[in-house]
Symmetry: C2
Amino acid sequence: MASESADEFEIIRTLFAPYADNAGARGLTDDAALIEGRFVVTTDAIVEGVHFLPGDPIATVAMKAVRVNVSDLVAKGARPTAALMTLIWPRSRPAEEIAVFAEAFGGDLQHFGMTLLGGDTTSTDGPLTISVTAFGEPFSPRTPSRADAQVGDDVWLVGGEIGSAWLGLQLRSGAMKLDEIRRDRDEAQARADSEAMAGHVPDYLSLPGEPFDAEAAWLMSTYLAPFVRLECASVVAAYARASMDVSDGLVADAAKLAAASNVALRIDANAVPFSIPSERWAFSGGDFRNLITGGDDYVVLFTADPGQRGELETSEWAGALRLSRIGAVEAGEGVRVVNAQGDDIPISNAGFSHKLGR
Amino acid sequence: MASESADEFEIIRTLFAPYADNAGARGLTDDAALIEGRFVVTTDAIVEGVHFLPGDPIATVAMKAVRVNVSDLVAKGARPTAALMTLIWPRSRPAEEIAVFAEAFGGDLQHFGMTLLGGDTTSTDGPLTISVTAFGEPFSPRTPSRADAQVGDDVWLVGGEIGSAWLGLQLRSGAMKLDEIRRDRDEAQARADSEAMAGHVPDYLSLPGEPFDAEAAWLMSTYLAPFVRLECASVVAAYARASMDVSDGLVADAAKLAAASNVALRIDANAVPFSIPSERWAFSGGDFRNLITGGDDYVVLFTADPGQRGELETSEWAGALRLSRIGAVEAGEGVRVVNAQGDDIPISNAGFSHKLGR
């Protein structure tokens, strides 16, 4: 069939060229790149209307495409090194946005220490789609899989909070109003926080028709471009038995790890790390089960020998990476979420579907 | 946001599992795979309505997704070894087709000696999209790029014919009628050939409302699932200075090679390999320039030292792989196509747009 015009290809190549490794990627002029070594490799695509909203800023969409892949590498204890990218661009989207996309995508690669090895560009009448294949260099000889959990292991989260992205999506999509996360909050303090930040953050972190709100901005930014911390890879490499990233909701992903390892996972609800606005929302009438099933968290779930508990709890990462021991690996199958008394909390995934379809 | 239900994921995983390498790919249960060595890596996506027609059989769509990537590896002198695949599946397409897709995709990987390292699956309201990242093991220490052509080199094609896929697309899309490729043909012989093959080929190689035609079937099968020959990789590794695969039309791709190498390419029209039906079509009124600009050929274009001409022309591959010396590398820029008298034939890419948009 046909190609873009040579001109169009040339423009796109030029936009992405600054982020290429010219040895392996040959300045993006070739059909293939050369790599050599021992790599963890992963692939993840994001699709408009499925993984992000059509109105999301193109810059954060680019960052999200990078970060959902970085998250997979980090969860395997690997340092990200390089990526290939397929960009499927809607004809209806302004072509000028490609330059913004390229700068954000390339900038984010650089932020994570990655180079662009190559890619493929296509125009489409369908949704914007970005598929990334990412390579990482493992920090340790052993790369933890989902299948390595053992009965008696502690269950840990590292890298951030659960549920903030879900709340951010509710705000951005209009499914939830600003006052739902402001309930029971000190209004004067909220105004002061927001006034201090207003003007220092991008416009897209404001809600149309609402005053700027610092906590809403934080929640929405977590949804738009997850904060993936490279340092988590060191924790995984040093301590994890089984490991995976949490992207589809804590409960659903814990169930996948449990199934792969032929074990059960117990999650202690009161040990799960939430953000301050998420906790306030839950304590003032919100159902916290939305937070642990909502998805888009991009933190790392891992299991470890309980003998390493002391070392992990006192490590330098404990605070900075919000390292949290959230439960234990048990005999059996599936996931149970328990309250402080150890009683099961009923979780029905089907009941929490304020989500984009995937 | 949300995931497919665990069940749906499990079904898809099971469908693709037979094609996984269980060491590196961990039976497709993990988020990442391990690879080690020296690799050529490439990525190419195919999108419904752009690279294939909505009505194309799902099995050949799967094969095409594999082969457009195999073609890139072969053109770099590499033996394909493994792939990652992102499948973006329209909600409107019957889910039963996924099993057919998986079998054809996996079967084609096996045919080329490749294993599946992992992937990602998403539902979409947009077009069916398959993005593949493929890995290959280079046959020689040096991997030819597009930029290595030298003035005085011979220009070669290896792996098949130019233009058959374009004619096949015209037939399948209805842009051309069967009698246009039957002109000046021995009708009795055509009927005999077709009767001998009828019933031995898939239904989708027949045209609706037309008698089965063996040559039309060949042309359409070339468009639907290109015949990529692994042996071409050996020729490239042994002889190529610059090399790339021809996917966007011979003239357009030759222009890319010329630009990357800072040289001009001369193509001798009468030396370009065409199929018998393509030649007959061109000699009975069709404009042959459509064949050399049409695309989807998936053969290899390379340049080589003229000192190797004798060896190449008498090699065992010359016949089987349709090795053809089609021109020369000259000083200057761009591509010129010349007739038997050496006169330039005007080529306007814009004039030959009976193509799907890309």
